[in-house]
C-alpha cells in the first residue's frame, strides 16, 4: 500500500476553490458576531445558508473527485505561506477528507435547520448560530488542512467553539463549570498533540502530510511510537476516550443541537480522523497501534456501562457516544483493514446518533426541558414522529440486521476478531450492553405508564425540527448497507488510507455476528423485563454497588480528582505560598547579588524616588564593574 505519497497539485474546478467550504461559515460567524443586534432578525437564516452553501461546495468537490481516476484522487490546493519556511497552508481533498467534509456540512446543515426551531425562544439565537458556524468552519479546517499545524489550528478552533457552545447558557453555573471542564480536559490532550507535532517537525523537518508520511518509513521506530502515543493522547482528549473521557458527560449541559453536532456527530470524531489520517505513522509503530486498540476497547466498554445507569436521557446518549467512538478507535488501531470500517461507522454513527440526540431534544422540547427518563413514559402516542425516528435510530445503534449500524459495527467486530480474539469478544460484549441500555432508554421514554410532572403537556415538535429527524433516520436505515456491501466505501477510501491485502467479504451469518445478535437480544429482553414490563420508580432506587459505580461514571471524576486535581491544587497552594514568601526572598536574593543589602532593594518597592535612584546607582556600579571585569579578563 502506498498512502499519502503522491499529492497532486490541483488548480481550477470546484476543488480549486474548496477553501470556500471553510471560508463561508467563517464569514457567517464573523458577520453574526460583529454585526451585533442588527443581524438578530435574519442571523439564523444566514447561518443556515452558509452551512448549506458549504455543503453544496462539498458535494460538488466530491463529484469532481469521483470523476478522477482512482490513482489521482489526492488533490492538494496551495493557499498561502502560513509560517514562513515552515508551514505552507493548503487544502488536501482526498476521499478521507471529503467524507468528513460531507458529514460535517451535511449533518451540520440539518442541525442548523433544526436549531431554528429549537432555539426560537432563546434571545441569543443569533449568537448561537454564530458559534455553530464557527464550529463548522473550524472542523472543516481540521479535516481539510494538508498539514498538522493547520489541523492543530482547526483542533483548537473546535475546542473554542465547543467551549462557547457548552457554556452557551452561561447563566447556569453547571453549564459554565461544564464548559471549563471540557476546556481543561481538552487542554491535556491538546498538549499531547502539540508536543507530537513538535516531535514530527524535529524528526521530519516538515509538518505537511505528504513529506511526513513519505519519510515515515525511514524514521526510527521508537520515535514513531512516541509520535503515535502523543497523537493518541490528543485524540483521547477530543474524542473523550479513556482516560480523558470525563468531560463529555458534563458537556451535555449545552443546548441539545450542540450535543448532537459536537458531541455526537462531528467533533468527538476528530480523534478518529487524526489516527486514521496518521495511519502511515501508526502502521510503522505497532506498539502505538496496540495502545490505540486497547484504549478503544476499554472506552467502548466503559461508555456502555456508564450508559446503563444514567437516568438523564442526554447523559445516557453521551455514554453511548463514548462507547461507539471506542468502536471506531478500536477499528482505527487495526490498520488498513479497520480504517474503512472506522470511518464508515463514524459516518453512520453521525447519522443515527444525531438522529437520537435531536430526538432527545424534541422530547425535551415537549416535556419542558425535563431530561430525567424516570419522568417520561408512554410518550409514543404523543410524539409519533419523534418516536418513529428515535426508534429507527435505536435499531440502528444496537445493530438490528440490515440497518446502518448492523453493517458497520459488525465489520469492526469481525475485523477485530480477525486480529485478536480477546479484542473481538470484548467488542461483542460491548454490543450486548449497548442492546441493554438503548432498549432501557426506549422503554423508559416511550413505553410504560406516564410518569410526567404535573405541568407537562407533551406535543409534537414543529416541522422545522421533525424534518431533519426524518432525513437523518433515512440515513440511519440505508447508509450502512450502501457503504459496506460490496466494499464500496473501502474501495472509495483506498487512495487515501490504502487497502488491506485481501478485501473482507461481508458474512450475514458469521459466528461473531450471530453471537452479537444473540447478546443484543438478551440485553434488550433484560431491559424489557426491568423497564418495559415492570414499573419504573420515579425516584431512582439506591441500586447495587455496580449501579453506583456506573452512575458515578466509573468514578472517572473521583480518579481525576485524586490523581490530578488534588496535586494540582497543592501545586497552586505552593505557588501562592511561594508568591507570598518566595518572591520577597527572591527579591532579597537579587539584592544580595547586586551587591547591596536585602533591605535596600526591598525598600525599592516602597515607592521612594530616592530608593529608585539608589538602585540605579547600584545597577550602574555593577554594570560598570562587570564590564571592567569582562574587558580585563
Amino acid at each position: 500500500m502506498e498512502p499519502a505519497e503522491k499529492i497532486i497539485q490541483h488548480a481550477g474546478g470546484v476543488i480549486g476553490v474548496s477553501w470556500l467550504m471553510i471560508a463561508l461559515p467563517l464569514l457567517g460567524a464573523a458577520i453574526l458576531l460583529l454585526g451585533g443586534r442588527r443581524t438578530d432578525r435574519w442571523g439564523h437564516l444566514l447561518g443556515v445558508a452558509m452551512s448549506l452553501a458549504s455543503f453544496v461546495v462539498a458535494v460538488l468537490a466530491f463529484v469532481e473527485l469521483i470523476g478522477l481516476p482512482e490513482a489521482q484522487r489526492r488533490r492538494g490546493v496551495e493557499l498561502f505561506q502560513f509560517i514562513p519556511g515552515m508551514v505552507d497552508m493548503g487544502v488536501l481533498i482526498d476521499p478521507l477528507s471529503i467524507s468528513f467534509a460531507l458529514l460535517i456540512t451535511g449533518v451540520g446543515s440539518l442541525i442548523h435547520i433544526y436549531s431554528i426551531g429549537y432555539m426560537s425562544h432563546d434571545p441569543a439565537r443569533r449568537r448561537f448560530f454564530a458559534y455553530l458556524n464557527l464550529f463548522v468552519a473550524a472542523m472543516l479546517l481540521l479535516v481539510l488542512a494538508d498539514n498538522y499545524v493547520g489541523l492543530y489550528v482547526g483542533w483548537e478552533g473546535v475546542g473554542l467553539a465547543s467551549y462557547l457552545l457548552i457554556g452557551f447558557w452561561q447563566q447556569k453555573p453547571s453549564a459554565a463549570t461544564a464548559a471549563q471542564k471540557a476546556f481543561i480536559v481538552n487542554r491535556v490532550g491538546d498538549f499531547g498533540l502539540a508536543i507530537g507535532i513538535f516531535v514530527i517537525w524535529t524528526t521530519f523537518g516538515s509538518v505537511a502530510y505528504g513529506p511526513v508520511f513519505g519519510a515515515a518509513g525511514g524514521a526510527d521506530q521508537g520515535v514513531l511510537t512516541v509520535i503515535g502515543l502523543l497523537l493518541l493522547l490528543g485524540a483521547c482528549g477530543k474524542s473523550a476516550q479513556v482516560p480523558l473521557q470525563s468531560w463529555l458527560l458534563d458537556a451535555m449541559e449545552g443546548p441539545t443541537p450542540v450535543s448532537a453536532l459536537i458531541h455526537a456527530a462531528t467533533m468527538v470524531t476528530a480523534g478518529v480522523y487524526l489516527v486514521v489520517r496518521s495511519g502511515a505513522i501508526f502502521e510503522l509503530a505497532p506498539t502505538a497501534q496496540l495502545v490505540v486498540t486497547i484504549v478503544g476497547v476499554v472506552t467502548l466498554l466503559a461508555g456502555a456501562i456508564i450508559g446503563t445507569a444514567k437516568d438523564d436521557i442526554k447523559k445516557g446518549l453521551a455514554g453511548s457516544t463514548m462507547s461507539q467512538i471506542g468502536y471506531m478507535m478500536l477499528a482505527a488501531g487495526l490498520g488498513p483493514a479497520g480504517y474503512a470500517f472506522a470511518i464508515a461507522h463514524l459516518i453512520t454513527h453521525g447519522f443515527f446518533k444525531a438522529n437520537l440526540f435531536l430526538g432527545a431534544g424534541s422530547i425535551m422540547h415537549a416535556m419542558n426541558d425535563e431530561v430525567d427518563m424516570r419522568k417520561y413514559g408512554g410518550l409514543r402516542k404523543f410524539l409519533p414522529v419523534t418516536f418513529a425516528t428515535f426508534f429507527i435510530g435505536y435499531l440502528a445503534i444496537i445493530g438490528f440486521p440490515l440497518l446502518s449500524g448492523y453493517f458497520t459495527k459488525d465489520g469492526i467486530i469481525e475485523t477485530a476478531m480477525h486480529h485478536s480474539a480477546i479484542l473481538g469478544w470484548l467488542a461483542v460484549v460491548g454490543a450486548g450492553i449497548t442492546g441493554f441500555y438503548m432498549s432501557r432508554m426506549v422503554f423508559m421514554t416511550f413505553f410504560g405508564e406516564k410518569r410526567w410532572a404535573d405541568d407537562a403537556h407533551p406535543h409534537e415538535s414543529p416541522a422545522v425540527m421533525t424534518w431533519p429527524l426524518i432525513i437523518l433516520s433515512v440515513g440511519s436505515i440505508f447508509l450502512g448497507g450502501y457503504l459496506i456491501l460490496g466494499n464500496t466505501f473501502m474501495q472509495f477510501l483506498a487512495p487515501a488510507v490504502g487497502r488491506p491485502a485481501e478485501l473482507p467479504v461481508f458474512h450475514f451469518f458469521s459466528v461473531p455476528g450471530l453471537a452479537t445478535l444473540a447478546l443484543v437480544a438478551v440485553g434488550a429482553a433484560f431491559a424489557w423485563m426491568k423497564y418495559g414490563r415492570a414499573q419504573v420508580p420515579v425516584v431512582a432506587p439506591r441500586g447495587s454497588f455496580l449501579t453506583t459505580f456506573a452512575r458515578r461514571d466509573l468514578y472517572g471524576d473521583a480518579i481525576n480528582e485524586s490523581l490530578f486535581m488534588r496535586p494540582g491544587q497543592w501545586a497552586t497552594r505552593f505557588a501562592v505560598f511561594f508568591d507570598n514568601r518566595g518572591i520577597d526572598g527572591l527579591v532579597n536574593g537579587l539584592a544580595a547579588m547586586i551587591g547591596g543589602t536585602s533591605g535596600r532593594l526591598r525598600r525599592i518597592q516602597t515607592g521612594f524616588a530616592r530608593s529608585y535612584a539608589l538602585s540605579i546607582l547600584f545597577g550602574a556600579a555593577v554594570v560598570a564593574g562587570a564590564l571592567l571585569l569582562v574587558g580585563n579578563l
Binding site: 452561561q170 518572591i583 537579587l590 524616588a609 540605579i616 564590564l627 574587558g631
Partner: protein, 516 residues
C-alpha cells in the same frame, strides 16, 4: 578664521522629522494666540494631519528613493532602513495614541491646582483640559524619532531630552487621582534626569576615549586607541545605564510601574509603545554601530541584564493588583525579550535577521500595547478608571466584547499562536538561538510561561468571577477610542495570521543594517 564650511543638510530626507517639530512649534503659537474655545478644534486636526503627513513622507521616501545608504546632516543623523521603519512604527503608534489623547476625560483642566482644593473644583467645573497636551506630545514624538535615528551621541542626547521632557510634564496631567499623577511626574523627572546624567557622563568618557561622538567614528577608534580601556568600559557602562533606564531593563526598571500607573492612560500608551520603540532604536545604534566591535565585552553583561529583566518583570507582575502596574511589569518583561534579540549579533546576515525580528516585535508589541491601554481607559467607575484588578472581576459577563478583546490582547502579550505576539517572540527567539544565545532563550521561554500565568489570571478573573455589585461601567467609547481598539485588535489578528508582508518589510528595512 577660515575653514568653517556651512554644513550640508539633506532637508528632503529629514522632512518627516522637521514636519513634526514644525507642527509642534505651530502648536505652541496656537496656544499663545488662539482663543481657548478654539484651541482643541485646531490642535486635533493639526496633530493628526502632521503625524499622518509625516508617515506619508516616510512612505514616499521609501518608495521613491529606496533605503538611503549614507548618514545625513554631516553624519549627525542616519536616515537608514531601520530608521525609516522605526519612524513609521512610531508615527503609527503616535497616531493611535493621539486618538486616545483626544478623548476629553483623561486630562486635567489645571495642572497647577492642588488636588482636592477649591481651585481644582473650579477648574473642573469650568471644563476643558490642558490643550498643551498636543504640542507637548508632538515634541515628544519628534524627540523619539530623533533619538532613534541619531548617528552621533550628542544628537542622541538632544533627542533623549526632547523626547523625555514633554513626557515628564504629560505624566502629571491626569484628571483623576491627581496626587498619584503628580507623584509619577516628579518621580519620572528626577529619575530621568538622573539617568540622563549617566548618559552624559558616559558620553564624555567615550569622547575622552575616542575623540569623537560620531557613532561610526567611535567604532573605528575601538581598534586604534590603546591603553585607555578603563575609560572605554566605564563610558560604555554609563551610556548603557542611561539607555537601559529608558527601556526599563532591570535593575533600572523601578520607575516604570509607578509612572505607568500615575500617568494619564493615553500618555502611558504613548510611553509604553513609542518610547520603547525609540529607546530600542537607540540601544541598537549605540551597541551595534558604535560599540559593535566591542560585543565580546558587553555581551556577557547584557546577558545578565536581559535575564534579570525578564525574570523581574515576569515575577513581580504576578503579585500586582493594579492593571496598569501589571502592564508595566509586562512591558519590563518584554523589554527583556527584546534584549535577547539585541544580544544575538554575529555575521552580517545574522545581524540582519535579529534586526528584522526586533523591528517586527516592536511593531507588534507597540500596537497591542496601545490597544490594551485603550481598553483600560474605557473601564471606569465613579473615581475614573477602575485600576484595581478586583474591579475587573466578571467584566466578561457584563461586557463580553470588550473583555474578549482585552483577553485577546493579553494572549498576544503572552505570545499565544495566531496573535502577533507569537510571531514576534518566535522571530526574536529564533534569531537569538541562531546567535548562540540558547540559554537566554530558555530563560525567555520560562519567563514567558510565568508571564502567561498572570495574563491568564486576568482573563480568568474577567470571565469566571462573579461581577461585583457596584462594579465599573464601560464607558461608551468615543469614535477615536473605539477606532484605536478596533485597529489594534485587527493589527494583532492580521500580524498573527498573515505576518508575511510585515516580515518582508522588516527584512527589507534590516537588510542593509545601519549606516555608519
Amino acid at each position: 578664521m577660515n575653514g568653517i564650511q556651512p554644513p550640508t543638510i539633506e532637508y528632503g530626507q529629514l522632512m518627516p522629522l522637521l514636519l513634526v517639530f514644525g507642527a509642534a512649534i505651530v502648536g505652541v503659537l496656537i496656544e499663545a494666540f488662539a482663543p481657548r474655545y478654539l484651541r482643541k478644534a485646531i490642535h486635533v486636526p493639526l496633530t493628526m494631519l502632521t503625524l499622518l503627513g509625516a508617515f506619508g513622507l516616510v512612505i514616499v521616501q521609501v518608495l521613491r528613493d529606496g533605503v538611503p545608504t549614507a548618514a545625513v546632516a554631516m553624519g549627525a543623523i542616519a536616515v537608514d532602513g531601520p530608521s525609516l521603519f522605526i519612524w513609521g512604527v512610531i508615527l503609527v503608534l503616535s497616531v493611535v495614541s493621539v486618538l486616545l489623547i483626544n478623548d476629553d476625560d483623561n486630562f486635567v483642566a489645571s495642572a497647577a491646582a492642588v488636588p482636592g482644593s477649591p481651585d481644582e473644583e473650579e477648574a473642573i467645573a469650568r471644563g476643558g483640559a490642558h490643550t498643551e497636551v498636543y504640542p507637548l506630545a508632538l515634541f515628544a514624538i519628534g524627540g523619539m524619532m530623533l533619538f532613534a535615528a541619531s548617528n552621533d551621541l550628542l544628537i542622541m542626547f538632544v533627542g533623549l531630552e526632547v523626547m523625555s521632557l514633554p513626557l515628564y510634564l504629560l505624566c502629571g496631567l491626569a484628571r483623576r487621582r491627581r496626587l498619584l499623577s503628580q507623584e509619577s511626574s516628579v518621580k519620572y523627572f528626577l529619575l530621568g534626569a538622573f539617568s540622563s546624567a549617566f548618559f552624559l557622563y558616559g558620553m564624555a568618557m567615550i569622547y575622552g576615549y575616542a575623540g569623537t561622538v560620531d557613532l561610526g567614528g567611535i567604532n573605528d577608534a575601538l581598534g586604534r586607541v590603546g591603553g585607555q580601556d578603563t575609560l572605554l568600559y566605564l563610558g560604555t557602562a554609563l551610556l548603557g545605564v542611561g539607555l537601559f533606564f529608558k527601556i526599563g531593563a532591570a535593575p533600572f526598571q523601578a520607575w516604570k510601574p509607578d509612572v505607568y500607573q500615575g500617568a494619564p492612560t493615553p500618555i502611558t500608551a504613548l510611553m509604553a509603545s513609542g518610547t520603547l520603540v525609540a529607546a530600542f532604536g537607540a540601544v541598537l545604534r549605540v551597541f551595534w554601530v558604535a560599540l559593535g566591535n566591542l560585543d565580546w565585552d558587553w555581551r556577557p553583561v547584557m546577558w545578565g541584564i536581559a535575564i534579570l529583566t525578564m525574570i523581574v518583570g515576569a515575577i513581580l507582575a504576578i503579585t500586582q493588583t493594579d492593571i496598569k502596574r501589571m502592564l508595566a511589569y509586562s512591558s519590563i518583561a518584554h523589554a527583556g525579550f527584546l534584549l535577547t534579540g539585541v544580544i544575538a549579533t554575529g555575521e552580517a546576515t545574522q545581524n540582519a535577521n535579529s534586526l528584522s525580528a526586533l523591528l517586527f516585535y516592536l511593531l507588534a508589541y507597540g500596537i497591542t500595547t496601545v490597544g490594551a491601554f485603550a481598553v483600560v481607559t474605557m473601564v471606569r467607575d465613579a473615581g475614573g478608571e477602575a485600576g484595581h484588578l478586583s474591579r475587573w472581576a466578571g467584566l466578561g459577563k457584563r461586557s463580553p466584547a470588550l473583555a474578549g478583546i482585552f483577553a485577546f490582547f493579553l494572549l498576544a502579550f503572552a505570545g499565544i499562536p495566531l496573535t502577533s505576539g507569537f510571531f514576534g517572540k518566535y522571530a526574536v527567539f529564533a534569531a537569538a538561538v541562531a546567535g548562540g544565545a540558547l540559554p537566554l532563550v530558555v530563560v525567555g521561554v520560562v519567563s514567558s510561561a510565568i508571564a502567561a500565568f498572570f495574563y491568564v489570571r486576568v482573563i480568568v478573573l474577567m470571565f469566571f468571577s462573579e461581577p461585583a455589585a457596584d462594579g465599573p461601567t464601560i464607558a461608551v467609547p468615543s469614535a477615536g477610542t473605539a477606532a484605536v481598539v478596533a485597529l489594534a485588535a485587527a493589527a494583532t489578528v492580521v500580524l498573527g495570521v498573515y505576518p508575511q508582508p510585515v516580515f518582508d518589510l522588516a527584512d527589507a528595512a534590516a537588510s542593509s543594517l545601519f549606516v555608519r
